[in-house]
């Protein structure tokens, strides 16, 4: 075992240099590469046609991915980064390490207009408050109704979590200058704020709150993987914040052609059909959805721009901290 581990730990850089087949390195977030995530199936499908080795590197969450790229700079071993989202996209673009897409993406089917010459959407979802429909009868239909109710919610911190940041941007997009008033109203509903999505969702499943900040597609996981119809997502009249997850090619990639090939692979059926039941998000093309996904709510996107500047994001987060610290 020791020998094997030693090999596992130290052979990576040498192994890749000696390998006959070219290797494509994709940085992504942790949940993408677990045995339940899309990683293993996508690796198998792409390797079957590319004659290459596809290596996924899990680097925490979306924000961690971005800081990883900043730390590595030009020395990055990544050819492709998959897992940034629209709330981090402008910051990522400012880094100037990405190459433009080789070809305009084909067959995208997002509920909003999308055109970007660098970042390619591979899936998307709406943020939503998820609840247990066997316990909650009077489901709020807006942030105002939620703020007026006695319901207890658990959310994530926008300073450490991407969905948490999405929620702060959601309220800002829906209410603008009135966002502070909404957060003041929500203050007594918030049981607690966690570092990341996992803590929140785990605490919600333990019964610590009536609702938790998650995705409209979370109930599909329980329905399909656990045969449990008890979870639902609340439909808010303000419209829902869209999280669009994107991939991009690094300008410094030494596997340029292979990277382009993978970027093209992202919008094929082989990639897209894996997404719904492993990443529990909507595919970026019009590939057929699993039948049970039709039971999910289909909200409208909240009005406002999809992306945000670094300064705009800081202002929204600072307002959130200020109001909830009172």
């Amino acid at each position: 075992m020791k020998k094997f581990l030693f090999a596992a730990a130290f052979s990576l850089p040498f192994g890749s240099a000696m390998a006959q087949t070219p290797e494509l390195t994709v940085y992504t977030y942790d949940s993408f590469i677990t045995e339940w995530g899309p990683g293993p199936q996508i690796k198998a499908a792409f390797e079957a046609e590319c004659g290459c080795t596809l290596t996924f590197v899990g680097a925490g969450d979306g924000a961690a991915l971005l800081s990883r790229l900043r730390l590595e700079g030009a020395r990055s071993e990544a050819d492709i980064v998959l897992g940034l989202d629209n709330s981090l996209m402008e910051q990522a673009r400012d880094l100037g390490v990405f190459a433009p897409l080789a070809a305009a993406p084909a067959g995208l089917a997002l509920p909003v207009d999308w055109s970007d010459d660098t970042f390619l959407p591979y899936d998307w979802g709406y943020l939503a408050f998820v609840y247990d429909n066997t316990k909650l009868q009077l489901v709020p239909t807006s942030f105002e109704a939620l703020a007026e109710s006695d319901l207890k919610i658990i959310i994530q911190d926008p300073r450490s979590s991407t969905p948490g940041l999405g929620l702060a941007l959601w309220v800002k997009a829906a209410y603008g200058d009135d966002a502070a008033r909404i957060w003041e109203g929500l203050n007594d509903n918030i049981v607690t704020v966690t570092k990341g999505w996992s803590e929140s969702y785990g605490m919600f499943l333990e019964g610590e709150a009536d609702m938790v900040l998650s995705y409209t597609t979370s109930p599909a996981y329980h329905l399909i993987a656990e045969d449990d119809p008890s979870k639902s997502a609340a439909l808010f009249s303000e419209g829902h914040y869209m999280q669009i997850e994107v991939a991009a090619k690094l300008a410094g990639s030494e596997q340029d052609a292979l990277a382009d090939r993978f970027m093209a692979f992202i919008t094929t059926e082989a990639f897209q059909r894996v997404i719904p039941e492993t990443n529990w998000m909507y595919p970026a093309t019009d590939v057929a959805l699993p039948p049970l996904f039709e039971q999910m709510i289909s909200p409208a996107p909240v009005a406002g721009p999809l992306t945000i500047s670094d300064a705009g994001r800081k202002a929204v987060v600072n307002e959130w901290v200020r109001v909830l610290s009172q």
């Binding site: 130290f10 942790d30 045995e35 590595e72 300073r159 704020v193 570092k195 803590e199 969702y201 333990e206």
Partner: protein
């Protein structure tokens, strides 16, 4: 000074210096913009408040518990003392879910209250943070006090009983000197550990009011990428740690009781103190630490019933190897430092400096090392060695805090005798020092091993492909909706950490004398 002691000691100090200073310097060197992190002051204030209270409450409650454990012999006492190590080794998220199963809004206590028609318990806020930190650290404080008491030769207690000393006199002569040595030390370690708490403080703190310096550092590194702000916050944390350590050293006075004959401790004054009171203390403490552990055990067993995830055996093996490597490293460094300090005139300053490792943010160490390593080597290849090194760095100050007083005691009690006999070098270590500090050495090594096994550490920052540790696997499972599988992994993690702790600790205490 013995040349071997000198060389090893200076080498160990250099390693500590690199780990404490290099990451902060690396961040500052890499930083593009300067400027204070906005809103850092409330975070600093809350960190000081919660860490001080956590330390104070843990140690105050530990005193009656340690006294009861000292005085009473009962079935399962040895196991209870060992089990007291368990909460300390829980990964934060596991501990939070375990605590909530008992104290949460739909936990056992709330269910009991509901039967009486009362609303659910609301522990969120400062009280929740303190509950969690006391849960983590009360057992550690108890063990540190017990180590202090065990340094008193049992003949002293016999003499006190023979002289029929009044409880107050006995307390002043025997117990007070122990507490003066051990209490500041325990306060300090727990203050430092609570200071760097972040996920727990946030999850139970109920919102941004409960933001700690560590959260501000995480935010600066992850979202803002403001390396200057992160470095400044790291320096604030180091200064707070330095001040706390200086204060603890000022008030802490290790007691000298002289050597004993090593007779086993017997309880000479058990009748002077009501049995039921000690019983109550012991049962309450066992329930307080045991119930959340039982909840974790039950959930984990249910999760494991669903089958082992494919990656688990490999992740377990990697974690174990990293833990053993890190323990060996920490033990080597701790012994080198302890012997060097014993022979040095500036012992306090050296230990103070080492204690700063507890006040360094793991994110800062990780990011700093990444910046230093990235230009010269692949971070992937060094992920496991660096994880082991950083884990060793976190265990080292706690080990030193436990080992140093033991070594000082041996030298004070037997130093002259050993020199008179011409005992030196390896023979002195094997025949005198090792048997005398064995109990402390075992306890400290066990803590370091378990800490390293359970800690997520810096592996996420280096993220090698296809290599994951058990804590990393557990977090990844939770991120993929696999809460039950994660509970199973958590159980295996906790059981392995505890087994490591138990083997070293028991080995130190020796079979049968526990």
């Amino acid at each position: 000074m013995n040349p071997v002691v000198k060389t090893c000691g200076i080498g160990a100090i250099l390693v500590v210096a690199v780990l404490v200073l290099a990451p902060v310097i690396a961040l500052l060197a890499q930083a593009e913009t300067g400027g204070w992190a906005v809103g850092a002051w409330p975070a600093i204030r809350f960190t000081l408040l919660q860490a001080s209270l956590s330390a104070l409450i843990s140690v105050v409650l530990a005193i009656p518990l340690a006294r009861a454990l000292m005085r009473r012999q009962f079935w399962g006492r040895g196991l209870m003392i060992s089990l007291l190590g368990a909460p300390f080794l829980l990964p934060s998220i596991v501990a939070v879910l375990g605590l909530l199963a008992i104290w949460g809004r739909s936990g056992v206590m709330s269910d009991i209250l509901a039967m009486a028609g009362l609303g659910p318990l609301d522990i969120y806020g400062l009280k929740g943070v303190l509950l969690a930190h006391v849960f983590f650290n009360l057992p550690l404080a108890t063990r540190m006090l017990l180590q202090g008491w065990q340094a008193v030769p049992s003949e002293h207690f016999r003499l006190a009983a023979q002289l029929a000393l009044a409880p107050r006199t006995r307390f002043a002569l025997l117990e007070m000197p122990v507490l003066r040595g051990a209490v500041p030390s325990a306060l300090l370690v727990i203050f430092m550990l609570s200071m760097s708490s972040f996920a727990v403080a946030l999850a139970l703190g109920g919102g941004p009011r409960a933001s700690t310096i560590e959260l501000a550092i995480y935010q600066a590194l992850r979202f803002e990428f403001d390396l200057a702000a992160a470095a400044q916050l790291a320096i604030v944390q180091l200064l707070v740690g330095l001040a706390a350590a200086a204060l603890a050293f000022h008030f802490g006075r290790a007691a000298r009781f002289g050597g004993g004959l090593g007779a086993p401790f017997q309880n000479w004054d058990s009748r002077r103190w009501p049995r039921w009171l000690d019983g109550l203390v012991l049962v309450t403490a066992a329930a307080f630490t045991g119930l959340p552990l039982a909840a974790i055990l039950l959930k984990g067993a249910a999760g494991l019933g669903l089958g082992l995830p494919a990656g688990l055996p490999m992740a377990w093996a990697i974690s174990l190897l990293v833990a053993l490597a890190s323990t060996a490293l920490a033990l080597g460094l701790a012994l080198a430092l302890a012997f060097f300090i014993a022979a040095s005139k500036r012992g306090d300053r050296i230990e103070l400096f080492t204690l700063l490792l507890l006040a360094t943010s793991p994110f800062v160490i990780g990011t700093g090392l990444f910046i230093l390593i990235n230009p010269v080597a692949s971070p992937f290849a060094l992920a496991l060695p660096v994880t082991a090194l950083v884990n060793a760095a976190l265990g080292l100050p706690i080990m030193l805090r436990v080992i140093r007083p033991a070594l000082a005691r041996v030298n004070a009690d037997y130093g002259l005798l050993a020199e008179g006999l011409g005992m030196a070098g390896r023979a002195r270590f094997r025949l005198l020092t090792l048997p005398q500090i064995r109990s402390e050495l075992g306890f400290a090594t066990g803590l370091a091993a378990a800490l390293s096994m359970g800690d997520l550490g810096v592996i996420t920052l280096f993220a090698p492909p296809d290599v994951q540790t058990l804590p990393l696997l557990m977090y990844r499972q939770m991120g993929s909706y696999q809460m039950d599988a994660a509970a199973g992994s958590a159980l295996i993690l906790v059981a392995s950490s505890f087994a490591l702790f138990y083997i070293f600790d028991k080995g130190g205490r020796g079979a049968g004398t526990g």
